[in-house]
Each structure stands twice: as C-alpha cells, then as structure tokens.
Symmetry: D2
Subunit: 362 residues, 4 copies
C-alpha cells in the first residue's frame, strides 16, 4: 500500500510539497454520521502553525482548509474525506542554491540517492509542512474517539534542550508558546530560546502525549501491538529519533518488582506500563513520549558536499524553527489519535465493539 | 492484513502458542535462488534458545526446525517458505492456576478484555516462544541481505539493569552469555545476575543492533520511513518499551551544530543520525536500540485480582528469564533484518535496484 | 502484503507444494469463541478430494488435517489458526521428465520466466493441491458466518462442457459425483465423462455459488466492492477464466427496464443483480458464477518447447482430472465464504454490526 | 488499507462526489523521472467525457485537471501525485426528490443500509464521475508502462446490446462514438441507439481491453494472479457484472486439446489463454473483457419503496447514458494499466527487473 498512507482501516493518505500549489490528504474509513465542519480544524491547525510566537519559524501559514468530499449536510457519510490547503507565502528563492548542495543533517542527500531527482524548494516533500495534514486528519480522529468512546488526547513538551518541567499542570500547557506544563519555568525558557536563536543554533526536545479513556482490549498480541503502532506513528514524524511507552528507557534499570503495576479492586496501583500490556490497552491512560533532534537548518556554517562530491560550506537561511519540538506537540497528538482510531476499528472488526467482559479497572 | 504478519513485500506470518503442538511461520516474498538449508537456522536459534546458561529460563527448547515448502534442491523458489517447530518440554501444570487470576505486568488481563477467552498455558500466544519464528525468518532475511548487498547485522546488550559497557568490542559479544561487548565486565555481570536470581526479582535491559553495508536510499519520506519501520519492528518484541535511532533520546539535549553529521569527500564525519536522514538510509551503519522492561514473572508475590475481580496474591512459578533482554539480542537482529529486506524490495520496486546516482559516501 | 495471502481482516495465508512434505495455512482474524474441531473439516475436504469417483484424479489424498494453534478447549481464541496436512501418495517420478519441457497450457513456462527456478514435482505450487487449504479455511469462514449471521453458502456445477442443467434442485447436488442440480441428467453426464476420459481429452465447466442470508450493507462503493472481492477470489482459483455476478454476461444484451430489480413492500421482485447493488449487498442471495477452462493435462500429445527453446512433443501422464471444474465447487464456496467473512469484519469496523436502519427486504 | 485505494505499490486513492466541490486522487508509487504534464491527460479524459455525442449523457464535464504535487520541472519525483478536478455544471435539483426514495437497480438502498446516511446529489460517491480519476491515474500508468516496457494498451466495445462486431479493426475504434472496431456497423448502431434513447430505455454492453508487450513473468501463482487483479479491477467499475480473460466463458464448452495454446520455436500458436498462464503473464497480449449491465437510470417508471418502506413509482430524470458501456472503454484501459503497473513493481521487487531467463516467445 501507499508509502504515503497511514493506518489499515482509519487511513490517512497525504500529498503535497512545501512550495507546490497545495497540500492535501484523504481520510478514509471514518465512520458515518460524525459531525464535521471546517471550523473543527481551526484550533489544532493554529496550534501547529508557524508564526505564532518569536520562537517558531516566521513563515506565515494561513492554512485555510477546504473539505472537498465525504461530508454531507455537516456529517461524514462514510466515504473518503478529501482535505486541501493551498500553499501561500512560499519564498522559493530562499532555497535556490540548495539544489546543488546537500545540507548536513537533512534529507537532501538521501532523497537524491533514492530518487535521483528532488524538489528542493522548501525541502519539498520532506518539509514539516506535510504534518499540517496529519494534524487535520488527527482532528477527525480525535473528534470521533471523543464522540464514540469519550477519549481525550492531550500533549505537552516534556523536555526542551537540557530543561525538564518540575510540575505537571495540564491547565497551563495551552497558555504558553512552548506547550509547557510548568508555568514557573516559562520565563526561563523564553530567555533560553532567545539566546539560542541569537546564537543561530537549534536544540532538541521531547514531547509527551496521553490518551485518557481508552477502553481495554485495543491493540493485538504480535505485530499490531498498540505500542508498535504508536512507535511507527511517532517515529514517522520529522526529526523524531526515539519513542517511549510509559516508563520507556527508564525500564532498563528497573527491577521487575518495581516496574509491574499491581492490580486491586480499585484498579491499577501505578502506570509504569503506559497503559499497554502485551501490546493491548489496559484501560489506563496510554502514555507515550517522542524525542526530536535539533533541526539541522541553522545559521552556523556546516561542512558538506555538492552534487559533484566537492566539499562546500552550507549556511541554511530561510525561516526555520530553532526547536522543531515545540510545534510537534499537536502533531504527536494527531498521530496518537490516528493510531487509536485505527485500532478501535480493528478491534471491533474482530471482537465486536467494546464489551464488558470484566468490570473495567480504572 | 493479518495482525500476525510483518512486512509488506518480504513478509512474515507467525502462528502457534507456547504450549500448543507447534509454532510455525510463513515467509513470503523472499527472492528466488537463495541457498537455504535447515542448518542455516541452527546458530541463531541456538543464540535465542533458553537453557544455555544459568542466566536464562531453564526450559529446554530443542527447536528442531522443518522447512515445509518454498525450497527446492537447496534453493528458494520464490514461493512461500513454511517453517515448523514442534513444541516439546511443555509443563502446562506450572501454569494451571493462572487461568483464574491475572498476573500483574502480564498480558493476561488485556487478552481477557480483548478476546474474552485465552489459552493460559505458558502465556499462550503472548509467550516469547513466538519470537523463535522471528529469529528463523530473520535468518532468511539476513542471508539474503548478505548475499545480495553485503549487509552485516549484529547486536549486543548495551545495558543490563544499571550497568553499561565501557568498551565496545564486537569480538567478545558471542563469547559470553550476555551478548556483552566488554569482556572485563562479564564476571561482574555474572555476580550481579546470580544475586538477582537469588532475590527472585528481574531487571530490564537495552539491546543495540547495527546493520553495516546498507545502501543509501532505502526507506521512504513519510509513513514508510526506515526509522518508522524499525520502531514498529522492535516495539513489537515482547517487553520492549522504547526504541531509539542513532543518538536517540540523547538528541533532546543536543544542539543542532553538534547533532548534524557533516559530510566531506571522505564521507560523513560522524553518525549521530544512526544512518537514517529524513527516513531514508544514508549509507552509514544503521544503528538502533531497544529498551526492555524487567520480566513480570518473578518469585516475589504481587497484588492482583481474579476473574471475579477479587483481590489475590500472585507468585509466578515456572521457568522464567530474570532478564528477558539477554536473549532478545538475536530477536532484535532478526527484526532489523526483516525491516531491511522489506525496504530493499520496496526500494527496488519503485526506484530500481541500487544505482549509483552519486558516488556513495561511507 | 503476502502474495499468498487473501483477505484484509479475515485473512488466509497458504504455503506448500504438491509434492513437498506438507501443505498448510494460517487463518488470522477469525473472531474468538467459535467452536472448532478437526471434525469440522472432514465434509468439505472430502467433497474436494480426488479419488472419490472415476471422474476425478485417482490420486488418493487422505487430507488428515491438524490444528496447530488458535484453538483452546474447542474454541477459537482470536489468535492465528495454523492448519497442516502432510502430503502422502506423491508419485514424483510421474513428473520427472517435465523439468526440461514446458507443458502447453500450464504454468511451467510462466513460472520459469518469473522465477528462473521451479519445483516441477506435481506442478509444485501451481498444483490444485493448494486449494485444499482454501477449502479448510473456508470451513472456518462458513461456520462463523452461519453462527453469527445465519448465512448459508452452497454451490453446484452449472455447466459441464456443452451441458447445462434443466432443473435447479439443491437437494440432489450432493447425491451425485458432479455436484449437479438436475438428477435426471446425471446418467447422461456419466456417459459423457466416460467417453471423454476414454478419448484422453478434458473439458471446461461452470460453477455457481450462492450465499443466502447475507445482510444488506456489506461491501464498499469503490475498490472494495463485494463484487470486486468475489471476482478476485474466484479468479484466483486454478483454471478460472471468467467470473460473473447475477445475470453476468447476459446483462450485455439486456434492457435496463428488464434488468433492474424492482422493490416493493415484500422485497425485491427479482434478482438479476445477484444480490449486489453498487458493490454493496442488498440482502438478496449473493449469486456468482465462475468458468473453468479444460485442464491442460491430457493424454493427447501437444506441441511445446524445452528449456533450450527446441520443439518437443508433450504427453501429460500422471493422474489428472478430465474436468477440474467438478471438484471446484467446494473451492468456490470456500472463496465466497472467505470474501464474505472479510467483508463482514470490514463492515462492522466502519459501520458497526448489522443494524436495522430500514426494515430489511428479503 | 483504504477501501478507496487500488493497488499495492502503484496505488490510486480517489475521493469526491458527483456534486461536491471537486473530485481528486492521489497516485503513489510511480517511479521517479517520468515526464508528466497536464496535457497528457487531455486525450483520455476527453474519451471518457460526457457530452461528446448524442449517445452519451449531456452533462458537460470540462474536466480541467490540476497537478497538485509529485511533479517537479515536468518530471515525477517519486512522491505522491495529487490530481484535482473541480466539479462544474452540477444540477443537483434534478436529484432533489431522490433522497426519500430508492431508485431500483441503483446503489441508493444499499448505501442507506450500509451507512444510514448518503449524499443523494447525482449518486454522490457511486456516480460514474469517480471514474474520471481512474482515467487520470491510468494515463500515468499507461505512460510509464509505455516508456519503461514498450507496452501498449487499447480497448474497444465488443458488444452493444444484441450487436457484436464482425470485423476487428483497431484503426477505426477511435473514429466513431462507440469505440467500435467494425466501421460498417456504425450507422446501424447509430440507428439502434437513437431508437433506444427515444424509448427511454437503456442497454448493456461488453468492453474488450488488450495489453501488448507485457513481459512474461508478471503476476503471481496464487492470490496475486494477474487474472485475479484484472478481475478485481474491472469488476470495481460501475455496472460491471462479468469479467473474462482470453476465451472467458467460452472455455466452459471447450476441450483441453482445443483450448491449450501450443508453443513452438516461433512462439505460441494461439492465445486462448489471453496471455496469462497460471496467473502469470506469458508474453502474449493480455486480453480481458467486461460486461456492463444497462444503466438503471431510465425514463420508464419503475416500482420501488421510500425511506418508510412504502411503495413508490420512480422515474429517473437527469442526464444519463443510455449505455454506460460506451464511455467505459477508457476506464477499462485505465484499470488494466493500473493493474499492470502494480504487477510490474511487484515483480521487480521480488525477482528483479525483466530478465531474459529464456528467449521470450511472441
């Protein structure tokens, strides 16, 4: 199946380059009857958009989305939902010289090796612009999961360079430009990012996403593990280099007696597992983290080669994010929503809809 | 597509439970003409097997494999390769009482919620026994990758509980029961594991796998990223809670100027990226890590509930690994091999076989 | 997805050659809780088996099936069901000389062109022996469709060479060796087949399959049309050259006023459509037909070439069916069952289980 | 995968309703470097378009296609190709009353049973308008197959109601409004269609498609048979009720000695098989036929029911084709091209590109 598609039953197929006429997607498999309107997309597209604070790229994306199909009189019909956003504010001249050279840390060289041809304008297909359509599709998945199962999906930044939050307050996440859950640290982060931007450098980050209300029983024992789906989904986001479930890499140094989550009449005593046991949801919150590398587009010159293999020095101009992780929070939420919607459909295909075999633990 | 299948073109489908009559698999899509014999499987199946040292489960798996199809006069014919191993040395009575209770940290509860029925003997389908077939399939993938592209895939343990290797010597990895790359530390690890086993507890671990000789250009820009495939593959292994590519979670605190790998006439100056840029192989070694949680089967009693939701205390007897990570090294290699073989076929489908668009950097 | 797999959710993967050690399959996606026992397979495997009358191949297949996984205490668990039949009574020497020549009308030449290698014993993978596993998987699909939705699937021969039935009596279909629905014609067919066999020639046939009780709403509007799935399924059976739905090729010469099925308060007035409108089941019986060519293995010499491209004369000895269509009836039923089970799961994934949006017409 | 997608590697995903804002598609997997321009689509879109003669629907589709992605400086880049056509000349009022009733022979009733909601304007998703995008995608597949392998794909009408051509002259097919290969019969067909249109009725038809130059070895032995793919592809076209390969249903009455195609030093002596043996191409022309039912949209009143199950009389106004088969020729060609392109990629994935294991027969 298409390498630009995600999901088996609740599927997303995206197309479009950063500086082409438009980006778009097809969401297929969404159950019929879901209320859907272009207004539904505004919030999450806005959260992902550039140009909203001085800490992200200054490219101004208006992201006016058009629903081309699959919705009739305000409800999904079960047929494929086509979405389209025209590209505006492209400044291709910023990239003109990059056709001849390979920017270090970028996909330029690997695209060239794969295809022998590439659209160099704005990174072409490898631009983070593609993730706009993931966010749009994620809006539909989120809305269906909420309407059908009462699931809530949220995300925040859980590391920014060397800094980690000391408090975990969901209420403040949407009130600062970093999706940061610790309000007291925000001024410090502002200063950190200002200095970083001034230095012309960039930095990595970690994003955490949580889905509450996921019924037990989603996922599958072997190659369709819920954790495997999440890993594939988050790792498919640009710049991601690690995915963790629950305690993640901390589990390497833990003892079994400490890691395993006890169960009692009132439910699980802890959630080291991140809501997944044996690849299947336990009914606890599903918790995942992804680590993003620092963007390679920085003002500091770097060594590289050109098409003829000659050494060149590359400086990446254009309008870039000093920390791509910041805007990645809504993207991670969207991908988690897409995985869960897909697993919801897979589960009810084989096992019927959420039954109550056993009183569910919370 | 079957939830018990892995791969789009070079595909593996497994079946079988720990204490059923047999486990088996179908490997489909392997190119014709590859030499293949039952002897090819001995080494990797042996590396994965239990009972080889006092540090793993004492269940004795003989793992006599039978090639049922797809091979004619010692060569693959391009038709599906059926493999079968009869189960022996099952001691189902060890597990008899577990049908009524859910072991904490295990898939018992989530299986029950999903299916409303489960085979409790030895964990049934969720037993690590299934991974035998991944290793067997991985042997075929490894052999084809080596024969066709000269690729070499190796793995080692890179963390055992709190311990990390101080040296990285591939030559010693196969000479100790831990797949440990630092010979000097082996006695210390022996003592650590002896004490752990005596305590009745278990511990987590990290495994690193490396593929050398992967041509540039494998993978795809969006949802078929090579990194995404690896993440899915490794996260599908029992007990895995995190997957990292290259520098992995370390990238969160890195600066862009430090992380990005410069290119010069002699190739890349470093490999922070782990051999993957923009989801596509760069020609450098592909490096991935996976973190495994401590096994939940321990002798220390744990709180849980039974089928009626009543509190119970569970002690897991039977023959378990105090660190499942140890035997996971060949499994991780196999899954990496399967991902690469699949990506090799996907690449040559769309772009033809490995061409030399540009002199390849090493 | 494996080229030896069928179905998206209720999936079948087969392996094995005619003269290899065994044939087998993996049925994945079957809902949990279905009663299943080796005895369930006896009837349909027997209906497909050779050697039951003088009108089919005299090879004696015992077809002792073994359930290797996926069933616990007589019920499916939702995990993959592995099935195995050991091959017996192979007489490979019958085929020894065929490695050097290409039998006209057979897959010998095309296999060679595709793979450059082939297992010539008994046709290897292209032997009708593979269909044993389709029948076995179809037993599971049939049983689930009957238990869950009350669906009944039946088939009969509807043309044998130049002969067509003049009566349509399901009750006599299983009482004669031809699956023929017109008892009066059976003696005539016996004589026809005896003469054909004596002549050393073979003949084509048509098989009709009907599924009653299929709920309205299964299938999908575009590329997952129920009719498209049936076409793919039946055309995948050896020797099939045409697939028809409902009136099939007769529709070419029909007027719209005659073809379209009127609806009234008591249901549809006719079933020209074969139970499918716009690719989706209407609640009427689903009716499909497949045409099989005459087997190419005949005693009459034929012109061909050998591996070096030199002209040769080929006479196919061995034990062959003078009309492969006769034994194809249970295979067609099995494939229809697999398509319907798959569509059932796809339907309830997206749209929930069979609801009664509208009083169903019968 | 998406029910609105076709193909495994060379994939098409379509979206859009007849009277929505636009129809569109994503073609993914096309090899990089193919020259492609909007002008390439004009001819085949024109051949499929309505309003070109009095014998097809009078709706005027301008079908101005826009390439949204995947092409850079006139060449495909290997990334997904997004195509879009805005809908114009919708007259939804023609269909207003159909929301409450089910037209006999249409998908109205089955859509309603499936989804419980539908877009009634112009048939919504079940409109033949969707096939515009198949033709567009087929243009790309055709162009690549021609450029890479020298394959030529052509189609013609081979039955129109009771009439069949007596001559087979490709040169005249594009010179008459019926894609008819027998010039002498065209005046007779004009008269036949005029009378039919006047009667308010419709009629069925058969379309034949032929691919010349297909290399031997494409397809696969079991569930990915080339014939199986073609059957699925053609049966997915609106109104198709039968698919035949080569001699098709004629094979039922043939003897093996007559049907099988002899081979000699100069190639095959005949092509009863339609270019496919054992599911794999033989190098001969691939020949397939599809039968289309008469359109159900006719001026003659028909009995049906409304949403409340009450009897109603339905007359279908609007602008309909009296024989949908006429415009189906380019659609059949497109689907055949998509199947072949997909099989080309599948073949070279597993077996490498077209090799010359044996001197190819023609």
């Amino acid at each position: 199946m298409s390498s630009n598609s995600f999901g088996k039953l609740f599927t997303l197929t995206t197309f479009g380059e950063s500086h082409g006429p438009a980006i778009g997607c097809v969401v297929d498999g969404c159950p019929p009857g879901l209320e859907l309107d272009t207004d539904d997309f505004a919030m999450d597209l806005g959260r992902r958009a550039t140009g909203r604070s001085r800490h992200t790229s200054q490219r101004r994306e208006t992201d006016a989305i058009e629903i081309l199909s699959g919705v009739y009189e305000g409800r999904t019909t079960g047929t494929p939902i086509g979405l389209l956003i025209r590209n505006t504010d492209q400044r291709s001249k910023d990239y003109g010289n990059l056709l001849e050279t390979f920017r270090p840390g970028h996909a330029d060289y690997t695209y060239w090796q794969k295809y022998g041809i590439r659209d160099p304008r704005g990174g072409g297909r490898s631009s983070a612009r593609e993730t706009t359509m993931r966010v749009a599709a994620g809006v539909i998945a989120k809305k269906w999961l909420a309407a059908r199962y009462g699931i809530r999906i949220r995300g925040c930044l859980s590391q920014l360079g060397p800094h980690r939050p000391e408090a975990m307050d969901w209420d403040v996440v949407e009130t600062n430009p970093f999706f940061w859950p610790d309000a007291d640290q925000v001024p410090m982060l502002e200063a950190y990012m200002d200095a970083l931007r001034k230095s012309g450098d960039s930095v990595g980050a970690k994003v955490t996403v949580v889905a509450e209300g996921v019924p037990p029983g989603w996922g599958a024992p072997i190659y369709d593990k819920l954790s495997s789906g999440i890993a594939s989904a988050l790792m498919s986001i640009n710049a991601v280099k690690a995915v963790e479930i629950g305690d993640g890499i901390e589990a390497a140094a833990q003892l079994g007696s400490a890691h395993r989550d006890s169960m009692g009449v009132d439910g699980f005593a802890s959630n080291h597992a991140g809501g997944i046991l044996g690849g299947i949801s336990s009914g606890q919150p599903v918790v995942a983290h992804m680590t993003l590398k620092p963007t390679s587009s920085i003002l500091i010159p770097g060594d590289s080669i050109d098409l003829q293999g000659r050494p060149v020095e590359v400086v990446t101009k254009g309008r870039h994010d000093p920390c791509v992780g910041i805007r990645a929070t809504p993207i991670a939420e969207a991908m988690l929503a897409l995985v869960l919607a897909d697993q919801a459909l897979l589960h009810r295909a084989q096992c019927g809809d959420v039954g109550e075999v056993l009183p569910r633990l919370v």
